[in-house]
Point group: C2
Chain length 320, copies 2
């Protein structure tokens, strides 16, 4: 759950009074999300989300994240829009933490993924990539190749307790990916964490994208590889090629992948699988007992990684 910091009614009212939002009508901590403290705030003007950024989000990155949401929203992406105070601030402080208010997005995130979801996801992802063009700030992908080495270090001693030989297998994979990692692919703003719980649907229509706190400047095709892993595998850990084809078809209805991107996809998918495997493994091994936080199985991503190692050609993903 996601309320690490309590905010009182008086503190909230004082904070909200700096915006032009009318009277606060309700205020509730939200039990979803893990990293930050999130609150649903309703005022006489509308509904908003208040986020207090806890320690896992680097304060120095917040101007990038908030600036990006503002930029994308102004260019037609349905995403949370940071609110400005009367004096024009978006990034503020509350309870000693960086804090911001954003608009509330309607929609539900899908638990049972359909082919239609994947098609719309692809379309929205390409639209996001297009809308980010010209955004003046950049942020390196902290969880790409350079970020994997410290996670390998931190998990090496205990990785074998999750699966015998895992540390060695991850080291081998890391070395190969580091040696072969593509450069020169079309690059821009990517979301980098577009899992189903960050994508809202109303009825059958995609209604918005949330949680831009891993967004960064990296290869567009890497974002697609993240989505491929997160949306197109079944519970038995096999790839559903129909979903993958729908994802790519939706994407390419907005922006065509070039030959280098297609060729790089299996490697990018391995890298994306390694990235989520490593962060899940780290969280698994450094788990603070808590009945309410469900640890995500790192080995789900081991299975995906193994699959992509077997792929020679993006045709295996249904790409024409």
């Amino acid at each position: 759950m996601a309320v690490h910091t309590d905010v009182t009614d008086d503190e909230l009212k004082a904070f909200v009074a700096d915006y032009d939002l009318g009277e606060v009508l309700s205020f509730q901590g939200i039990a979803e999300g893990v990293e930050n403290s999130n609150f649903a705030v309703r005022t006489s003007r509308g509904s908003y989300i208040l986020t207090l950024y806890e320690k896992r989000v680097a304060a120095a990155d917040l101007p990038f994240f908030l600036g990006l949401m503002d930029y994308l929203a102004a260019r037609g992406v349905s995403c949370p829009t940071p609110l400005k105070t009367r004096t024009g601030e978006t990034l503020r402080a509350l309870k000693g933490r960086p804090a911001a208010m954003v608009t509330f997005l309607e929609g539900l995130w899908p638990r049972r993924i359909t082919v239609a979801h994947c098609q719309q996801l692809g379309h929205a992802l390409a639209a996001l990539h297009a809308a980010g063009a010209g955004f003046p700030m950049t942020r390196a992908n902290a969880l790409s190749v350079a970020g994997w080495a410290p996670l390998l270090e931190a998990t090496r001693a205990e990785a074998g307790s999750v699966k015998p030989g895992l540390a060695e297998a991850l080291d081998t994979e890391y070395r190969e990916l580091a040696a072969r990692w593509p450069s020169g692919l079309p690059t821009g703003v990517i979301h980098a964490d577009l899992f189903p719980d960050n994508v809202f649907f109303l009825g059958d229509r995609l209604s918005g994208l949330i949680d831009f706190y891993f967004a960064c400047t990296d290869a567009f095709a890497y974002d697609l590889a993240v989505c491929l892993n997160a949306w197109c595998f079944e519970a038995d850990r096999s790839l559903n090629v129909t979903k993958a084809r729908a994802l790519f078809q939706g994407y390419e209805s907005v922006r065509k992948l070039d030959a280098a991107e297609r060729q790089a996809l299996p490697l990018l998918a391995r890298g994306s699988a390694l990235r989520f495997l490593l962060t899940r493994l780290y969280d698994w091994l450094n788990h603070v007992p808590d009945a309410f936080v469900i640890r995500k199985d790192p080995l789900e991503y081991w299975a995906k990684l193994r699959f992509h190692q077997s792929v020679d050609d993006s045709a295996a993903y249904g790409l024409a």
Copy 2:
């Protein structure tokens, strides 16, 4: 926090489809409350709370609680109103648990209690007592005298670890209260747990009462004693007589206390203090480690109990 059970988007939509509420627009777990799983649900018709009743609420009591909220709301009390499905049901099942949808109440609960809050609380409490007249169901107060003995048993061995001699002191207090507990006082529906987090205000006006899951049939003056303990003591554990006077004045602006009730108040206040001391002590000693649940200090109620032991006359509470 209060989401013990996950509900998927499809499960929610199927559940909500049995009501006449339009399309589901958003759905969020709420991080407040401890006993049950609560979700904020917005539809094209309005805002609602979905509650899944977890094991600490007896399913057999739910018709009383839901029937009471319905009865009170129909008589002008601002409280959650259970929604009926198209076939007239309020109590249903979801994820193998009893479940109900109620209307959403606007308002914020006050952390910094003022005299004006206490006055309005007293007024609302008396109005609740009046509105409950004629409610056809009854429910014994499970946490009155008969309920204290099992809690004393369950905490006796370890109570001394919280405060040396506490078990013996509680046994003595229990015997005295059991021997002298008043009977024959004016009785009816009481809330029995009207702490600040169950009372909403909009601006300076009380806007509603929530959480009727300890409601029962008991002496009205006992409810007032609960409020006295929960609202009128300062952080240094001293009684603020001005707040107490405002509470009683607000109450008596709707319903006068009779002589027997006034006389019984110190004893009822001791009993109410013992009740919350015992449940907090039990929770303290049977605490499952969890970073997100803050244990409430049982000794706060020991200080209140000791204060009420020193009171001979309700005049000490500011009652004229």
